[in-house]
């Protein structure tokens, strides 16, 4: 069957090639292939699997003709790379869809991605680096009768690993731009919206009161102005007993409030608050980790791009957390006394998360939690300041400092404790000329907890527009004394990119965009290829 599909694909591909001049419409797509060759590594105790090669490949093809569109995605895991869900295996046409789109309506049949509001109630999306693809297979309709009225409705099954899952999802969402709708001419914009999502999964157990369906509702409000944005969303979800929550009949909720303030004086800030209670929402109650998720609850903390802060990344506690984040940016203008010839960018970020203040209950609800109260346990806290400045055409620097409290036991599991750390980072970019550039990163972490102090360095040399090479090392020099080194190079040519590297991966939480997965230690070579057209 699989081969048959491929043969058809190739045949159509060849057909297209032969008649490309005649066929109307546009084709676009891409290929991404990540290959890993594993070796045994005594230092990190990483063991190569029996099959020393792993490959994750994705091929997408999209076709559009006027208002009509269609597409496919072929994935192959031969076998899947270490650290990805083991259920990803084999080669399969995982996406196939066709649709029609004009200014008022967009209908997709087959596979589609969609999101309601901030995604707190429903979001289907793909994150290849984490092995997440919870695309829906069904029908999606987006209807926009007027610019200020947007309606979405969908139903379908969700992709769970290589197959469609058992749980059926139905949902609808309505969003109105009130002031536009009432024809009030204003500098402000006011948007209100709401969604409803229903999931049904058959229950075959003995408990007659067990709820096979979950209903979730959300309401949201948005205020926009040239210098101010406010975004509030509240979600309520019915009880969904699972092994993860120890089969309690506890309703769930999320409250999210975000404000963005910008000024003409180069100062801007974002302030976010979020409270999550019992919001693990899946199409399949037997799944765990990042599999079969209906909603999107990323960790709302600063996304660090340096390696040492990423040793201790925060992961959302879907059973209960309360906290927030503030980002403040200030730009010292070009040519000002403090800003220098090129200007200077300053930023301050802080976030804090605690558990909920809960009381254990004997009833089936399991626990109750005070709504506006911070719990007794600190989960995560960070404060970061950074300064970015170009000094001359040759030199640009970023200096950054961070203080971190990380409840490793709570976030990564029993056996760990609380980690208090300070991290300093220096990042220097030297643009020798229009082609040659060298970037140097140096980082140090001070802590007496877990694996104690770390030092890290990175060298990255690039020869524009095609070549770049890097070498990096991370070293816990007071405890295990393991060098987590890595080196490699990449070549970009137009829309193609090939990269080859060799190194050690540390076991731990790997996070992309605030969603995390645990990865085992492995060592070896990696070859990646991407091409888009």
């Amino acid at each position: 069957m699989k081969k048959w599909i491929l043969v058809v694909l190739i045949a159509t591909g060849t057909g297209n090639m032969l008649s490309a001049q005649e066929i109307p419409g546009k084709l676009s797509g891409g290929l991404e292939s990540n290959n890993q060759f594993y070796v045994d590594d005594k230092a990190t105790k990483a063991q190569a699997p029996r099959d020393k090669i792993g490959t994750n490949s994705y091929f997408t093809l999209n076709y559009t003709l006027k208002n009509f569109y269609a597409g496919i995605q072929l994935e192959s895991y031969l076998p899947v790379l270490m650290g990805y869900p083991e259920g990803l295996k084999g080669t399969k046409l995982t996406h196939r869809f066709a649709g029609y789109r004009n200014d008022k309506i967009d209908i997709t049949a087959g596979h589609f991605y969609e999101q309601f509001g901030n995604g707190l109630i429903f979001r289907s999306y793909e994150e290849r680096q984490l092995g997440i693809d919870n695309i829906m297979d069904g029908v999606n309709v987006r209807f926009t009768p007027l610019k200020s009225i947007r309606f979405k409705a969908l139903y379908g099954l969700q992709r769970v690993l290589m197959e469609n899952g058992d749980g059926i999802v139905r949902g609808a969402d309505l969003e109105l731009d009130l002031l536009d709708l009432l024809k009030v001419r204003q500098a402000w914009g006011l948007t209100i919206g709401g969604s409803v999502v229903n999931r049904y999964q058959k229950y075959t157990g003995p408990d007659e009161t067990f709820p096979p369906e979950v209903n979730a509702y959300s309401a949201r409000l948005g205020l926009t102005h040239a210098h101010y944005n406010l975004n509030i969303e509240y979600v309520n979800k019915s009880a969904d007993p699972t092994e993860l929550n120890k089969n309690i009949l506890k309703k769930g909720s999320v409250l999210y409030i975000n404000q963005t303030i910008t000024t003409n004086k180069n100062l801007s800030m974002d302030i976010a608050f979020r409270r999550v209670e019992s919001m693990d929402f899946r199409t399949d109650r037997t799944q765990k980790d990042n599999i079969a998720m209906v909603n999107y609850l990323p960790a709302l903390t600063k996304l660090y791009t340096y390696s040492l802060p990423n040793i201790y990344p925060y992961a959302t506690q879907t059973m209960g957390e309360i906290g927030g984040k503030a980002d403040i940016y200030y730009h010292l203008k070009r040519g000002s006394a403090l800003g220098g010839h090129y200007g200077t960018k300053l930023s301050l970020t802080a976030s804090l998360y605690r558990n909920l203040d809960t009381v254990r209950l004997k009833s089936k609800e399991g626990f109750s939690a005070a709504f506006w109260k911070f719990g007794p346990t600190e989960l995560y806290r960070d404060v970061n300041v950074s300064m970015e400045r170009r000094w001359s055409p040759l030199v640009k620097t970023i200096f950054s400092y961070m203080n971190l409290h990380y409840n490793q036991g709570y976030i990564q599991g029993p056996g760990f404790g609380m980690v208090h750390a300070d991290i300093a980072m220096a990042d220097v970019l030297l643009n020798f000329n229009r082609k040659h550039a060298l970037r140097v990163e140096a980082q140090h972490m001070w802590t007496v907890d877990d694996e104690k102090n770390w030092a890290a360095a990175l060298l990255e040399y690039s020869y524009a527009p095609r070549w770049s090479f890097f070498a990096s090392d991370m070293f816990n020099y007071q405890s295990k004394k393991i060098h987590y080194f890595s080196f490699g190079g990449a070549c970009n040519y137009k829309a193609a990119r090939v990269s080859l590297s060799y190194g050690r991966q540390r076991a731990g939480l790997l996070c992309v965009g605030g969603i995390c997965r645990m990865v085992p230690a492995y060592s070896g070579a990696n070859l990646s290829f991407t091409y888009n057209f």
């Binding site: 297209n16 091929f59 031969l78 731009d177 960018k345 605030g514 888009n532």
Partner: protein, 172 residues
Amino acid sequence: MGKKTVSVYMMAAALFCCTIAVAQENKSQQKLPNVQVKDLEGKMVSVNTFSNNGKPIIISFWATWCKPCISELESIADDYDNWKKVSGVKLIAVSIDDARTSAGIKSVVSSRGWQYEVYNDYNKDLYRSLGIANVPYTVILNGDGTVAERHAGYNPGDEYHLLEAVKKLAGL
């Protein structure tokens, strides 16, 4: 590797070759699809309305958490007035930030003083329909809105090549 693996690779390679051929033959007619993105006020905008009065447009895909993307947009920002003057080009910065970080787009853009047109491809509809796998990613549209060049990744200095490519398109 087993026989099956090899045959799958071969098929994938064949498929790939075909599509490259299609893509090359097809290039002349590729325009942006009519998907919608959000502007900074949250309003939906169709990307096929992107225009620059017959002059080239650079579409730069970026994200607030992507360091090389910000480096690229920063280095262009240093010289953007000059770029506009010499080639008439307009840069449209399309962020792929999702709900986690999209609230930060406006403050990053405002605090850095970028003069670009900025949109949020919140559901990655445009990103996906162009087959893009990673940011940073740059697409150059010529005056009539067809895709003239694509470039994956960013190395310091790439901006000069970008400007050269734009000048060539503008007939300079």
